[in-house]
Amino acid sequence: MTDQPTPAPKQPPPAPVPPSDGRARLLAALRRPGSRGQAAAAVLLAILGFAAVTQVKANGKDDQYVGARQGDLVQYINNLSLASQRTEAEIARLQQTRDALRSDTRSRRTALERARQQADTLGILAGTVPVVGSGVRVTVTDEKGGVGSNQLLEGLEELRDAGAEAIELNNRVRVVAQTSLKDVDGGVMVDGTVLRAPYVIEAIGSPHDLATALDFKGGFIDEVQRADVDGTVQVQESDKVEISTVVEPAAPQYAQPGATG
């Protein structure tokens, strides 16, 4: 109001009859392209529109902290540092949990590993798993039928004495703790399987020890090649003896684990 106190009313030069009514004048100005005054107004209005839109945009972006008082800002910072403290405590707690879980997993894995090794060892001893390793292959030929369970049993015992870890007969029977031998007509029955000559004893252990254990005076070889038995023995040391037959582990019916010591 006070900005436009032009004392002398302006004479509109182009219009022949100046419209007396305000509305008519506005409509006339809108219809005409415009005068110098309108051009100036256009420039200023353009500036205003530009500034207003810019301000609206800037305001809409992020005005939470713009113009906030110092106390508010301090409050914001306090809140943020509290939140970050809480978060750090949470992180530490979770890391602890993670470490605990990790060590738990590791010890469980170790236990599993140990159990697996033990199962392997016991499996080899009990004859429930196929094994391979260095050892000897002992072939006993028996033309006269003189070789029986006595001789074979002696051979097996010599081999065990020498530290044989796994023994197999004729690629058909795994010799384990419960193995029994029995003479039958024309052969030997081992664990219900009838074996006939030639007998092949495969044993895994130190090849030299095993071979030596069989060949001493009054030992297995002497026993087989005695005149009344009259068999022949051929001992072959090998780096790779394969024992593929296994026995089914029988669940003990009477024996139960007792307290040790």
Binding site: Q4, P9, K10, R25, A41, L44, L45, A52
Partner: protein
């Protein structure tokens, strides 16, 4: 006509360019916009009254913006920036309202 086109061009420019407000201008821009609005409404009213003068309009526009900026600056320096800004907005708002009332009487005869 040209005035309306100028306003439209300004708005479109602002929308298209999307300029960043410089940090030193940030406190002054809102008040300056409101002051400029006051000048524009005053000019529109003068036009409807038949006493519009482009020179007066330009001077009042620029001086309004400058005074608004100076008041905000002074208020910031004195530590009453927020309150002074509010005061300026209130005064300009009252002026805009009375100007718009006069404009309304001209256009709607009511």
């Amino acid at each position: 006509m040209i005035a309306a086109v100028g306003l439209l061009i300004g708005v479109l420019l602002g929308l298209i360019l999307q300029p960043e407000v410089p940090i030193w201008l940030e406190p002054y821009l809102p008040i300056a916009v409101v002051a400029a609005l006051d000048a524009v409404f005053g000019a529109l009213r003068a036009f409807l009254d038949g006493i519009f003068d482009d020179k007066v309009f330009v001077v009042s526009f620029v001086s309004n913006v400058l005074i608004a900026a100076v008041i905000v600056y002074l208020g910031d320096k004195l530590g009453v920036g927020g309150q002074l800004s509010t005061g300026v907005i209130v005064v300009l708002g009252i002026r805009i309202f009375s100007n718009v009332a006069a404009i309304r009487r001209h256009i709607f005869h009511a």
